[in-house]
Symmetry: C2
Subunit: 217 residues, 2 copies
Amino acid sequence: MKKFAVVLSGSGVFDGAEIHEATLAMYAIKKQGAEYDVFAPDMEQFHVVNHITGEDMKEKRNVLVEAARIARGKIKPLNEFDPAAYDALLFPGGFGAAKNLSTFAIDGPDCRINIDVEKAIKGMHSAGKPIGALCIAPVLLAKMLGKVKLTIGQDEGTAKAVGVMGAVHETTDHGQVVMDEENKLFTTPCYMLDADIAQIGEGAFNIVNAMLKQLEG
Amino acid sequence: MKKFAVVLSGSGVFDGAEIHEATLAMYAIKKQGAEYDVFAPDMEQFHVVNHITGEDMKEKRNVLVEAARIARGKIKPLNEFDPAAYDALLFPGGFGAAKNLSTFAIDGPDCRINIDVEKAIKGMHSAGKPIGALCIAPVLLAKMLGKVKLTIGQDEGTAKAVGVMGAVHETTDHGQVVMDEENKLFTTPCYMLDADIAQIGEGAFNIVNAMLKQLEG
């Protein structure tokens, strides 16, 4: 049975992992006969956003502790991730990918990447194992790996930014997956487009399906 | 197009709405051609639980504000719910149903039900519209409506408690839905059983499917 590591960045689209993308990715993995463990970095969130008003809540939350809500407590700190123990790595989106896993939301192409995220991506990439990223999370792959092929949907500003980091961007619509065969990278736009939850399910199913097909040769 | 009202109780299995059940219920609704709005009571959570350690976090969070994480900000206070505007009402589970929507986790059969939850259930029931509840949420129906038929899975203590409140309990396995035809109530066990996320998807799909069939006569 193929085993995925799913990396979360909190719990909630505006300051953490996008909950529908995270849940439906886990569902797509299990539904297609594979299994998963969940990881998140043990670090303070960049900030905490009231998801009704969009305002900063002036409190502190921990990325790992909040991500545990999505994982029902079954989660490990990302610094314990061992590429040898997994067949594939998957990053759901949400602003947490651009605020916690990296500083892309603040610094754009000059962003820094969390050290454990960097190790996870580089470890899987150098082992020749597939990496998937949904929504805004492909910016992590652009920053870490440079000249790769990916999609963040249709947003011109973000597409330009991943280009500055060296990546080649392909415009996509709902449910489409861009595969970089050479680097074994898989990306799909999800909520980078104006999507409904059924379209997120389609994107999650398709990216996991493409990764499993790659794994099964 | 049939319209569901989905009532959340926070965000996270141990102190709020169970995230997989909530997300997969919304997914099941949209995937089967219906639509939904999301509601939650505007009230302080009973408590805040660290989902890794299970310990009380000694902080305060608001049920509506946290539930907005699952709803991506598109949520309304439950006191604005109008039964006339919806075809069906659905309660995902999680301890929030037993700690915030009611006091069942503390008081058992002697529990109190949040006033807006009471109005929503009684309003839909008296209008002859279907109500669905996942996991532990059926206790709300037992307390409000008394002599009804429902399931909370296989847990003997909880089954006994719903019996004390007047309900008739049917034991169920993964994905099974109990329908009380007379009262138009639909219940399925989800994480009241030791389930994986694919089984939660099956339960969510089946309960929404049964409710839609009832609506379509």
